[in-house]
């Protein structure tokens, strides 16, 4: 909808959360600011202890921020108790009520809102249909499988039509195959309901697959916010590049900057272009990152950006990984998609050239 201006569903403004007091105090969130747009599938991604769940709990209202504001469509909701926020949560453990049936669980929120019985029933039926659980509506939650519990938890949180749906690692308890199914299912639900989703995960693949935008978090801070492609192709910091996907880090020296791009000199003396994170004007020694599939190998040394020795070749069916050792002793990995009948003379122990294309390198902030 290009004609409609993007509205922010949630704005987190300079929010800090400190647990404990005195010497034992821990800053779970350190002046975090982020805006989440309406109808967006937004993911908070980071390792455990990075503060992503804390941020989600602050939005849900289970904890209150030490400082800062949380705006829901412009209204500060930070001081409101959870039952006064039009926001619902899908819990990691699902937290289904064991003394109620599937249908009673789904209807609970509507019942608490004081909706008329007929409306609750209609809405519960619609929700059961949405998550394909019609047949099990009278079951107890202890009598259904983990995947089904997951669906009920989703239906329960969606039933009151929240303005924002919060999902706290909801897929982590499922096995691989079910998780893949639910990823697609979640995307579908978000599309059909048009509700803003805020999804917390430590699984980078999950984040890349499902999100419209991702915020990468570490040690209570948001390091980078962007589309999955942005985050993967243009990581701004070493942590982001390291946490998401595989990376080659190279030492380089800036020799020129123009129009948001830099020219850097590698250890081999070759100069290559590299893109820059927003707002960074680098000088002197920097680290650049090159994704393994963004570099090419050439049997000959001529015209290559770098040269190295092949230490190991790992065949993975779809891809082959070439583990190289550069002239300056640093490791470098190149990933190449396999096609039938490749035999290009690259052998273990042989010398190869590495080509780093015009858009493959990215300068890091640190």
């Amino acid at each position: 909808m290009p004609d409609k201006p993007d509205r922010n569903a949630i704005e987190v403004v300079k929010v800090s959360k400190i647990f404990g007091s005195g010497e034992g105090q821990v800053a779970a969130l350190d002046t975090v600011s982020v805006s989440i747009r309406e109808n967006e599938f937004f993911t908070l991604l980071g390792p455990s202890g990075c503060g992503k769940t804390t941020l989600l709990r602050l939005i849900a209202g289970f904890d209150f921020p030490t400082a800062g504001e949380i705006l829901l469509y412009g209204q500060d909701i930070a001081p409101l108790p959870p039952f006064k926020r039009p926001v619902n949560t899908v819990f990691q453990s699902y937290a289904l009520f064991p003394h109620m049936t599937v249908a009673e669980n789904i209807g609970f929120g509507l019942e608490m809102l004081g909706k008329p019985k007929a409306e609750i029933k209609a809405r519960v039926d619609a929700m059961l249909k949405l998550v394909k659980m019609e047949a099990l509506s009278a079951r107890r939650t202890s009598q259904i499988s983990g995947g089904q519990q997951q669906r009920v938890a989703l239906a329960r949180a969606l039933a009151p039509q929240p303005k924002v749906l919060l999902l706290d690692e909801p897929l982590s308890a499922l096995d691989y195959k079910l998780r893949k199914e639910m990823q697609i299912e979640l995307k579908r639900l978000q599309h059909e309901t048009g509700i803003t989703f805020i999804f917390v995960t430590h699984d980078q693949e999950e984040a890349l697959t499902m999100s419209d935008r991702i915020a990468v978090m570490s040690s209570g801070k948001i390091l980078q916010v962007g589309s999955p492609r942005d985050i993967y192709d243009r990581p701004s910091e070493r942590f982001v590049a390291d946490f998401i996907g595989e990376s080659n880090f190279l030492k380089a020296e800036v020799v020129g900057v123009s129009g948001g791009r830099a020219t850097v000199k590698l250890s081999s003396g070759t100069e290559i272009p590299a893109s820059l994170p927003e707002g960074l004007v680098p000088q002197g020694k920097v680290t650049i990152v090159v994704r393994p599939e963004h570099a090419q190998l050439s049997a000959a040394n001529s015209g290559a950006s770098l040269s190295g020795m092949v230490e190991n070749i790992v065949y993975l069916g779809t891809d082959t990984h070439f583990h190289l050792r550069l002239a300056d002793g640093e490791p470098f990995i190149v990933r190449r998609q396999n096609s039938r009948g490749t035999g290009d003379g690259i052998v273990q122990g042989g010398k190869v050239g590495i080509l780093i294309g015009g858009d493959a390198a990215q300068v890091l902030k640190d």
Binding site: G61, F91, F108, R156
Partner: protein, 306 residues
């Protein structure tokens, strides 16, 4: 050569024999201390009273008839024993009120304890169990000291000028209730706490998240889930409260007879052991019927959890 089947059978026989041997001491104690005496009481209730207490070994249904009916001295017609019925009702009422009072006090206490940090929880648990270290009689006299006319409560209220003459609490029904609630409170708190401790407080968060206010969360989520503890606590309080002897006697001043006093009377001054036995069994039957009704009713609203 024994076949595998024979060997297995022999092993099973040995196993069964060993189990009986190992449980024999426990079974003996259960028989000597519980089942045996109960049988004696049951048998006594069908015998004739002796002149100086004890029983004559002669069958008689008189004791059972006398539980609720009394025989007219002149024409042998039977009428309802109003005194017995009054005493039964008084005791049942006291047990019910005590159960309700301990529940009202014990539920918040258990909730408070279960929501503390793990370390402080143990401290609270310890504090709750401290009264068990002291004899019941001593605890009851402690309550007496507090509520008597010259006791702490009245002294403080008089000194503060809130009242001009001491409030008579001692030897009233209120005194009995205060004492009973105090004595039986731990029996209510502990089972509720045990249930509450197992409660997944994420469910409480889920309730708040789904627009339930604090009161609704308590009524719709916490209470149904700790119901097994509430049932256990109610049973643990109701049964001994029905037969309470020391507390009503000391704090009530013995003005109003309780079931326990009535039974005691039959074995003492009344010299009617069969009636005492029949009354005891009658109380037991009342408790069993009440429990069955209570548990069935509580189970109907469906807690298949915990």
């Amino acid at each position: 050569m024994a076949t595998a089947e024979e060997v297995a059978k022999a092993a099973e026989r040995r196993d069964i024999r060993d189990r009986w041997l190992l449980s024999a001491p426990a079974l003996l104690i259960i028989f000597l201390a519980a089942t045996g005496p109960l049988l004696i009481v049951l048998v006594y209730s069908f015998l004739t009273p002796g002149s100086y207490g004890d029983v004559k070994w002669q069958f008689s249904p008189e004791a059972w008839i006398a539980v609720f009916l009394e025989r007219d001295i002149f024409d042998d017609t039977l009428s309802v024993a109003a005194a017995h019925v009054t005493i039964f009702l008084r005791s049942i009422k006291l047990a019910v009120v005590t159960t309700i009072a301990t529940l009202a006090l014990g539920f918040p206490t258990a909730y408070f304890m279960a929501t503390r940090s793990e370390k402080t929880r143990d401290l609270w648990l310890f504090l709750i169990t401290i009264p068990f270290w002291t004899n019941l009689l001593i605890r009851t006299f402690a309550v007496l000291q507090i509520i008597r006319n010259e006791g702490i409560i009245n002294t403080i209220l008089l000194k503060l000028g809130i009242i001009s003459s001491p409030i008579q609490i001692l030897y009233t029904d209120t005194a009995i209730l205060i004492g009973m609630a105090y004595v039986y409170l731990p029996l209510m708190v502990l089972p509720i706490y045990a249930s509450m401790e197992k409660l997944d407080f994420r469910l409480v968060e889920a309730g708040y998240d789904l627009y339930a206010t604090r009161f609704k969360v308590l009524r719709k989520i916490i209470f149904p889930l700790v119901k097994p503890g509430v049932i256990a606590g109610s049973i643990l309080v109701f049964i001994p409260a029905l037969g309470a002897y020391v507390t009503p006697s000391v704090l009530g001043g013995g003005k109003n007879m309780m079931l326990s006093n009535l039974i005691e009377l039959q074995f003492g001054q009344g010299r009617n052991w069969p009636l005492g036995s029949a009354l005891s069994i009658a109380v037991m039957i009342i408790v069993m019927v009440a429990l069955l009704a209570y548990v069935r009713n509580a189970g109907k609203s469906g807690v298949r959890h915990g």
